[in-house]
């Protein structure tokens, strides 16, 4: 067993409303992950609404748009490519 100072994680008790707790449990169930992972994700990425799944979907649209515009304007396609990539922030 690891010594307390060697542990990579800390244990902290957090109080929350029943609604928040239910929401975390529901999301964990939906995504097939642990409630602990949902809580950590919400804490770490609280500044943005972007998630990998949303961004991947967005990028599929961007790829399609770039493919459509490319035969007409290489320059605009490059601009679109750059602008789409800029939105990849978490």
């Amino acid at each position: 067993m690891r010594k307390p100072e060697e542990k990579k994680t800390v244990r902290r008790t957090v109080l929350m409303t029943k609604d928040t707790d239910n929401d975390i449990i529901r999301e964990a169930k939906e995504r097939g992950i642990k409630p602990n992972a949902v809580m950590n994700e919400r804490l770490i990425h609280h500044k943005t609404d972007n998630t990998p799944s949303k961004m991947a979907e967005f990028q599929d649209f961007a790829n399609e748009a770039i493919r459509m515009i490319k035969p007409y304007s290489e320059k605009d396609a490059k601009l679109l490519e750059r602008k789409a990539n800029k939105l990849w922030t978490f």
Partner: protein
Amino acid sequence: MDILTQKRITDNGDGAGYFRHCVNYVYKDKLEPGEKRILTKGYGVCDTNRSHTFDQMYGVKEYFGKTGDNPVMHLVVSYDKSKVYDAITACNLTEIIAQHLRKNYQVITAVHQENQGGSLYHAHLVVNTVDIYTGKLYHSGIYELGQLAIFIHNLTGNFCKTEIKYEDPKK
């Protein structure tokens, strides 16, 4: 017979070297002699700029804090030349396989034309091992490879043989 090969070359520094190599490879025009790139297409990831592709895949890893594990899965599907003898069919089949993987992972594919004896076209599928919904790592075992082979078999109607290629220790 189609052949599904999984390249297991992860021991390249922290793995990022091989990850970058795979991303660069799908964009490469000058391949082996007699080999030609037909199409590069991304699913959930940019497919026109290799640097963006790498950054977007790495961004997902960072989001879930999974930067240190097996970074990439490199699959190669060699289509039997009796059924796949034109580029359009090869691209369409690759699209369906990629869409199947895209449900949970970012994928970038490259279809290459090369006469390998039994196959005229093959596709490289570079898959980000981190699930975009759960952050869980893709378990690249024999079972998962077999399941993908069954999917390809159902798609093409050919028996799909699986192979795992490890890094050449002499290199």
